[in-house]
Symmetry: C2
Subunit: 207 residues, 2 copies
Amino acid sequence: MGEVPGLRERKKLRTRRALTAAALRLFMEKGYEQTTVSEIAMTADVSTRTFFSYFASKEEVLLFNSRENLGRVLRTVAERRSGESAADLLARAVGAVFDVVSADAEIEWEIASVNHLIMTVPSLRAHALLLLFDTQREMAEALHRACPDELDLVEAAAAVGGVVGAVKLAGFIRLNRGAPPAEVMAACRRAAEMALAGLRAISTPPA
Amino acid sequence: MGEVPGLRERKKLRTRRALTAAALRLFMEKGYEQTTVSEIAMTADVSTRTFFSYFASKEEVLLFNSRENLGRVLRTVAERRSGESAADLLARAVGAVFDVVSADAEIEWEIASVNHLIMTVPSLRAHALLLLFDTQREMAEALHRACPDELDLVEAAAAVGGVVGAVKLAGFIRLNRGAPPAEVMAACRRAAEMALAGLRAISTPPA
DNA sequence: CAGAAGACTACATGAAATGCAAACTTGCAA
DNA sequence: TTGCAAGTTTGCATTTCATGTAGTCTTCTG
């Protein structure tokens, strides 16, 4: 845990941060399409070629953090608590994301900026959706593995797809209407509750 | 209705078809990344520049038909039948897609090929997801407009996102496991029923 | 059949992305 | 400290996607 990362690792982290910071700043200032990768690299004081050794594409520079967060969700799903139903487990996993987003107030502005860009730039939206979708596939498999008696793979997929799909669309629609972060979160929570209530209703039929 | 399209329109249609056919054939033969736009254009006997006046990008050449189909779904949602609940309307809209896919047996092979490409090529998957997502946004708004008393906009978004998300993930996961088309469809139908059952359960609470 | 509108082509350009080999930096051990 | 191995950065060349432009050819309309 308390490992000192060493100079090499620290420098890499610094460069990565410099690149994401430069990219975000430039995207906000001049727009995504109007900003070239070589400008980002120049601003972060590295060569254009180096940019591509940190990020596979221009889009990835904004999606890197989201990728890490989604990895955490995946781990949550994999660690089912004893006695926890599939719906409870999903609720906890989704809740974990909400907490991360709400808690880190110091980077709330950054999240809002990234979301705004994702919403308005089609190529970013496409890449974000791809990331989310591929994560969902893994989530469905993890959920099925965690609750093999309760759900088969297709049911797990339907459950994950239903919950994530509801939250995603409700959140984006609210964002699109220019709602403040608090209201967007409220919409997400409400959508999650709806989807989970539906899930609970059909998995434990009334006696 | 019975309009004769005129030579100009017929030629355009012919060129568009030639391009999509050439693209699909080349993609299957040599792979998506290995096929260049200029090869597609050459095969269809037009200039590279002309390709881009028919399709905005290399990806669009495969997604053009899907775009048209999704437009039809949207129209279905907009035309609510009197007395139809939101869940019924959604069920009908989703069912319409299933019917289109199942019915058109003559192009079943084409659909399967396109699906296979979308599944295996990330950039195609990303564009397909973008198309589906943007359609969902419109569906949510149409659903809210169709049933303003039953659902507010966020609820409509959650409903649409939940149902489409469930179907999408269940279908893709089944496809991914190499299941035959009939089984994929079965998974989609099951996921749709699950999501819709959940929706009905929470919108009409037991007395 | 003549003119207008639309489509196609060739050419030029710019940015994204990748491969490669040379130069440089860091980590580690003698 | 020095030397070397491993890992990073860089410049350069190259390919492909995508767009603007100007001119030519085709189709439509009166």
